[in-house]
Symmetry: D2
Subunit: 408 residues, 4 copies
């Protein structure tokens, strides 16, 4: 086995839900005839999804969704799987990046799978010729969904898309546990600094943010949360964190992680207030949460280490990890979400692709919730793989829940 | 000051949001002319809500929503507030309980406020004469909302009701923190047993259940969760708890708390499997989660202490707290939800009553979400009282969130 | 059964270690001929220790160690146990308190058991006639040991005393878990205020303090620690708490608990800085940690509720629980340490009394550590009662641990 | 700057205590004339200690204490510091390893600094000629101290050694936080598996073990503890972990970490009981806690990935990280203890070296505690660097603590 195959073998070992789905796919061939276009982080876990799709009969064309997240050995091993065409290469430049994406699109996919809306965006702008052949899409990220809803609101979205990101089985695990654990381990390994006792600033108290907050706190950090939503702010407060504005936090924080999915969270308004040694990172989809252009323009000096750029601002050293890209994936040592988490998220993707290939034709354009049955199916498969049994509602209980006549 | 007034004075001290609302109510008199009927736990915190309503111009008629939760000294002090009529007495029998409720209804309320749907249920069954005069209602509990939705589904609900329980500002605080802390402190004080190291079984991983689980865990318990929903079960698993069926948990657990809002959670199927010394309690609305009639019928002996009944089953001692009623309220020492939590929940009730009195006439029958503005208002008032500032979305950020054209 | 007996029956249920010891004591009668003098909190758990001693053949004379911690119904039930003489009454005045202590001493105890050095102090000052008949003593508290060591250093201690408090089996459970849980539950039930989100100030990061800090944090509080020892201060910092001086903490804290065993921790220097609504309590042995005389003298007004005195200082309301006495015991609802914790501490006392009665005659005056064998015995008995097995060192491992010649 | 210098620059940034000591050393030259021999992990943090020693006037000769932990770029940069001689190379064979150690010894050190007793052992066996010129030593590890005490007990230790490992300022931070965080991050990054929800087995509940347990728990793991000491076992139980024998744990665990400092913790008795996918690692000093020779001999197959060896036993895949060596240091990506933690440990080493150079000549052979003044000095320097102030005992308090005559 070469290193790409060894990595895939390792991942497979901790992906029992996809393994179960693969067994059924091999037998039933539900994707026979489908061409699936994907733009995802090309590494071992994704490869297990791709081979599951192929096992179900699909022709898969895949490229990366981030120039720095591709693992070349995995990309090569994946390219050797029958029915799979992989165009991703690590460190490609922007032109190569879009050229690879166009190769995926050239295959005329029936179903698209995006991590950040890249394929869908390109189809709706530069490749509108493909609009006819796409049955539907699946989107993996908060950011992507947000933008798809904006498109749908404007009437600009021209086929149905499943909001995989928003379904409880995704966000309760991928966002909370996946981002939480992998962002932390990547920060710890990249910087070799302590978490315990530190002022750890989390921007955004959504699913990603609260996972990170809880885990940093679990390692002994003093967590500060910044928010724009008053209810979430109050939740963070009652959960035991300090809530304040980024301007206030800037002067206190020692480690910062942005998780908002928005832009301009840490900016030129904040950098000059920061302490010497402050470490900044981003766990949101795009690299726009930390205003790196400001640092590049205004910093007195810049020192570059492996995955760390240290800027001197007002005489204080401020270090940004992975150029403000997804810290769990884009540092040299970062491995992305833990395998078991991606087993759940990709099991959803596999079943959603099956669903969209079968039913997408009869759906209007728009953003759709993942059907409850798919969510529950993945949950039950995972619980079974853990050997965990749960209770079932009895008839008496079902009736009780729907009655309103029982007295006090 | 007598003891009822002293208790109200204590509560007022930790209810800054209601205090702010009261200031406005006194000036604006938004409830002038309204008759408000309430069936709530009559104790100091509720009294502060009631006096706020009265300060806003309402005539308030109130009784209890549980025969054991009334504090007589508070009821008396409340009765002396101008514009308030209080009919609740502690330990009243079932006839007196409903007689008191009828007195509230005799006042022909325009707006009803329920904690368990008692008033609304009675109006729709025995007091249908009142249907004409009610503008709308507010409901405080998960259980009540569940039943109201069942009514609405059957077309049986004849006026609009605000689902106060379901709004984020209620369930993220009242259910998680209110139930969590008060159930724990009541169990600890009533039993004087240790939480650290114990097998602590939480039935249901909804808002109440996850609050309790987190806090019991925070005191050092080993938490077991039972669930019927596979996704919630998996969430509990990933959060670090052991998930199993109640039948499995019955043989392991040392302390049990039910939080499901359903019936027959711990039954004759489970009691004979339990360990000697097991302690059972309920934090759900009704006393039907633990099958006490089974124990009364089948136990070999019964021993009664203050708020504890100890049954001998199969030679093992099983103790039930507060006769299976709400453990945070119905034990002798239980104080109900912490004051600050009720400040939020009752601030919602005050603003929802104002809203319903003003707008209910133009709403169709049905169950309504609390308007976002009310939720946000309460959150901002609370943050202000804490001296906490939060960020606001900039124009650039608002545009970014609604655009879909920005590149990778 | 009367209420005292019911309480003792409840406690016995959760004291499996004492139950095992009692079985052996009944058979072996190791205390036959001994007169044991005790000054402990007279409530149900203590009663189980006392009856265990009596079952082992001792004549026991007991009184309280705090005027407010005696439960009269238990004292009466205890007085009916053969071989036991109980002189404690709740709410006795200072003269009655010492008169009861003298009755214990009049019995000429061979072994003394103290919770705060009361008996030993009295014997060494006012009752020096008894010095000849005392074989030795056992001391339960940090404070008591500190003072005994001071006595020993001055050459003033005239018989051997076992430092029960200092032994790992005591302080790792009684101080950390016992004080932690019971102080919290008593504060929660007495004040009905929320812990989640609060600034919770713990004075002292010894065993009691770190238990409290961890649990308050586990409920969602933001914990502030004050310390005089720089190493402990740094431990608290790295464990995730904020460390500062009491002067700084005074202006921020919402709930304060002192656990130092020292005097004048919160004083007239701090009260005027405090926030409106601040709640103060003490979990250290004596009521000298909060300077209540200052408040009594300088406060603008005082309002008294059940176990709460609210003083007005600089226009802010500051509430002190239980007059600054042990908050877990001295509030009306407080139950003292959880039963299972006292099972361990009192099992130590039972075995230490046996040891002292047997071996004290051959020991010089001084403060002694509890013999390792007693500590380990109690640990093994508890693990056995839990059904927990642990590994044993193999011969190979014992040799490895004592060798220094094995290479890298 | 080359990569070694960049790494040292990064470390310096988070080592404020050593920076303060360096300032004084430069001025006072307390090590002028001393030759210091060191065998430590040669990486950036150690390099900052070495340059601090050299700044204080010492001639430093250093080699590695583990063939896999040397970072060659740092070793080279360090070799260029005036007064420093570095002999360590990564991946050297056993002969080269000891040859390098002999070069250190050839310099006739006055003070030795060990991480695992390598230098001291060699001096007492093969290089007894040096016994005359050594004034004293410092030892960094639990394992080393254990062996030194065994030597001292046998009368085999021939100069004084400071037990740096055992001092509160070392073990409360280095062992708890250093091992805890770095072992976790190394496991997470190396395996890319999830911690949340996993059965995480910690062998040993000493300082290292309880740090790891708390942090794994903080990430959502279900922690199992194995112990041989009944008191520690009970502590783990009350802290909320499951305690059992390794034989029981073997069948349940998903991730195992040994922290005992002993041998043969996970052996041929346990491997055949394990689950498919089990991950094994060691955070104790030597690679003897997991019986890898058994696996090498009995496993059906072996698959090797980067820092992971996967053995097939009974058809189940069992993976061992870093060949059972220190998981936080010996994996490819592992960075060792966080910088801030080593700042404290190495500050102790710097001050202990100064102390030993000055006072060692007047000390008898034996193992000595670090003087309290050194411990407190490091604590105060760290608190100062954090901007944290703490209280000081007042005269009144000092008197109170030493008096025994104050009444109840």
């Amino acid at each position: 086995m070469d290193s790409g195959e060894l990595k895939m073998g390792w991942a497979r070992q901790y992906m029992p839900v996809l393994a179960e789905i693969r067994k059924r796919f091999e037998k039933e061939q539900p994707l026979a005839g489908a061409t699936v276009g994907m733009a995802l982080h090309v590494e071992a876990k994704t490869a297990v999804l791709v081979e599951t799709m192929a096992a179900g009969g699909a022709e898969v064309h895949i490229t990366g969704c981030n120039p720095l997240s591709t693992q070349d050995d995995v990309a090569q091993a994946l390219g050797r799987v029958p029915g799979v065409h992989c165009y991703a290469t690590r460190g490609c430049d922007i032109e190569e990046y879009y050229a690879a994406m166009d190769k995926v699109l050239d295959a005329s996919p029936n179903v698209t799978i995006d991590d950040g809306m890249d394929l869908i965006h390109r189809i709706h702008t530069l490749r509108r010729d493909l609009l006819g052949s796409v049955i539907g899409g699946c989107e993996e990220t908060t950011t992507g969904i947000q933008r798809l809803r904006a498109m749908a609101d404007e009437g600009a979205l021209e086929f149905p898309v499943l909001a995989v990101n928003d379904t409880p089985m995704k966000r309760s695990f991928d966002n909370i546990h996946g981002t939480g654990e992998s962002a932390l381990s990547s920060i710890m390994i990249t910087t070799n600094t302590l978490i315990g006792g530190k002022w750890f600033v989390v921007a955004g108290y959504g699913y990603c943010g609260r996972g990170l907050a809880r885990m940093a706190h679990g390692l002994g950090a003093k967590v500060i949360v910044t928010e724009v939503d008053p209810r979430r702010a109050l939740e963070a407060h009652m959960d035991g964190y300090q809530v304040m504005t980024m301007k206030e936090a800037a002067a206190i924080g020692e480690i910062f992680v942005t998780t908002t999915g928005n832009t301009s969270i840490i900016t030129g308004e904040h950098f000059p207030l920061m302490r010497n040694g402050a470490i900044l990172s981003n766990a949101g989809h795009f690299n726009v949460e930390i205003d790196i252009p400001w640092l590049e323009e205004h910093a007195e000096t810049k020192e570059t280490r492996d995955s760390i750029d240290t800027y001197l601002v007002n005489g204080n050293r401020i270090s940004v990890l992975a150029e403000g890209r997804l810290v769990n994936l884009a540092t040299t040592k970062g491995m992305g979400h833990p395998v078991e988490v991606m087993d759940l998220s990709f099991a959803l993707q596999a079943l959603c692709t099956e669903y969209m290939y079968k039913n997408g034709g009869s759906l209007k354009s728009g953003v759709y919730d993942v059907p409850y049955e798919i969510d529950a199916k993945v949950a039950y498969l995972k619980l079974a793989s853990l050997g965990v049994s749960i209770d079932e509602l009895t008839e008496e209980q079902k009736i009780y829940l729907h009655s309103w006549n029982a007295g006090t």
